[in-house]
């Protein structure tokens, strides 16, 4: 057992090379929110374990599957009094729905379920079934009055497209409040760094190559969050066609926008998480128009025809990988 602990500590030391002075470096891995969570920080392991408990607590409020969770009650009873965190999460989610003109829609959940992305029992629904279910969607119909939320009958919400990002922001805040000077919160590839890396260098975050097993490149950044939505996650194949889990709220089908992945870089993880999904749905042209109108994020898009599009604000911080898939890189300007 001791050896195991040592090995884990050694791995953590590599990730956060020395926290300066006498400070300890720790790493903690757990499974929550349907993913593998890794917390690393300049602190003892107990501090990270406590943060882990907070993630589990949030999961119990937000999960669509845990009986009695805020979202479960809302989905099953049509109306529910929510905890502050859940009300804020929904309010935030709706603000992004509005900002993206519905490209992000938490009420698309019945379709996600129908396609089997929530249970891994995948199937392709027929058009009639899709149109029928689409009648029961629409973010404007989710009403939020203080901490009370209500939905028309037959509708259901899922906060899956923002919950991990929102949780990462809350955990970062908690760790800072606990006196942790720097760390990395990684919720299954939703990454948030905070503080200054102890050796003074920038944080290095790789972006996955959607066509291969390696990375498309590496970002060198100060404290920020990086979240990728990709068609390679949660997908299945039927009759030679690949179906992925990012449902276009307009069609009720996996978004067919010519993209393989969208990576969003911003200060807040909640924004990265929500926008990576919404921009994936929008597709290249609309997404870059949206970026031109905004000032709070940067992005990298990988298209199905192997182009790598990068917004100019982040271009000099991204180094393309020399191995693996070769992409034609284009810097998109304002």
């Amino acid at each position: 057992m001791k050896l195991h602990r040592l090995a884990a500590a050694a791995a953590a030391a590599v990730m956060l090379t020395g926290c300066g002075g006498e400070q300890q470096t720790s790493q903690y891995t757990m499974f929550a929110m349907d993913t593998c969570v890794t917390l690393s920080g300049c602190c003892d392991r107990q501090t990270l374990e406590n943060a882990g408990k907070e993630i589990t607590r949030l999961e119990k409020l937000w999960s669509v599957n845990i009986k009695g969770s805020d979202i479960y009650r809302l989905d099953h009873e049509g109306s529910a009094k929510l905890s502050d965190e859940t009300a804020e999460l929904l309010r935030y989610s709706l603000s992004i729905s509005e900002r993206t003109d519905g490209a992000l829609d938490p009420t698309v959940f019945p379709l996600l379920k129908e396609w089997g992305f929530t249970t891994d029992e995948h199937h392709v629904p027929d058009s009639e079934r899709i149109s029928e279910l689409l009648k029961n969607t629409g973010w404007q119909r989710l009403k939020l009055d203080g901490n009370r939320a209500s939905l028309p009958e037959g509708m259901a919400v899922d906060t899956g497209a923002v919950a991990k990002g929102y949780a990462a922001d809350i955990i970062a805040e908690k760790l800072r409040a606990d006196g942790v000077s720097a760390g990395i919160i990684d919720l299954g590839g939703n990454v948030l760094t905070f503080g200054e890396k102890p050796d003074g260098s920038s944080w290095k975050i790789s972006v996955r190559d959607p066509f291969g097993k390696g990375t498309a490149g590496t970002l060198s950044l100060g404290e920020c969050s990086v979240v990728t939505s990709g068609s390679y996650e949660r997908c299945f194949e039927q009759d030679g066609i690949r179906y992925h889990h990012i449902i276009d709220p307009a069609t009720g089908r996996p978004a067919d926008s010519g993209l393989e992945s969208v990576t969003v870089i911003a200060d807040e993880s909640r924004l990265c998480d929500a926008l990576s999904t919404a921009l994936f749905v929008m597709g290249e042209d609309k997404a870059f128009d949206f970026w031109r109108e905004s000032r709070d994020f940067e992005m990298i898009m990988i298209t199905s025809d192997k182009r790598l599009l990068i917004s100019e604000g982040i271009a000099d911080k991204f180094e393309q990988s020399r191995k693996g898939t070769s992409y034609t890189a284009e810097v998109i300007s304002r």
Binding site: L3, H4, A7, A8, A10, A11, V14, M15, L16, Y28, T29, M30, F31, D34, T35, C36, T38, D120, I184, D186, G188, G189, N190, V191, T193, K197, W203, K204, I205, S206, V207, R208, D209, P210, G212, K213, G214, T215, T218, L219, V226, V227, T228, G230, S261, T263, K323
Partner: protein, 118 residues
């Protein structure tokens, strides 16, 4: 042994050692791989020294078979429904191999980046 011969041998040894060091430094990442279950390291393997073999890991009655072949590691079998871990293929510099249902993670101990998005 003449002094000259000894000097040549010493020089060759030093050169070989230096070459070995440079080779080690130039590698994209180390060969040390960690297999973690439920957040705990259950195996620490040096892929450069491992012979081809299979490792069976069990979790709550479910089984994963991890294979090491020619210095590479991959998930050969898993009795989970989605088989994401098997589809990940051989472990590379990018994302770790993860079997979520069986709480298993295979990753390099020494990564050149701090985290991987995606």
């Amino acid at each position: 042994m003449t002094a000259k011969k000894a000097a040549v041998i010493a020089l060759c040894t030093a050169l070989a050692a230096a070459a070995a060091c440079i080779m080690m430094l130039c590698r994209p990442h180390g060969d040390i791989v960690l297999i973690k279950q439920d957040g705990r390291v259950i195996y620490t393997l040096d892929l450069s020294k491992e012979k081809d073999r299979e490792i069976v890991v069990e979790y709550k009655g479910r089984k994963n078979v991890i294979a090491i072949e020619n210095g590479e590691i991959y998930m050969k079998e898993a009795d989970c429904p989605d088989h994401v871990c098997i589809h990940t293929g051989r472990l590379s510099g990018g994302a770790p191999i993860i079997c979520l249902p069986n709480r298993l993670v295979i990753e390099y101990a020494d990564r050149s980046t701090d985290a991987a998005a995606g």
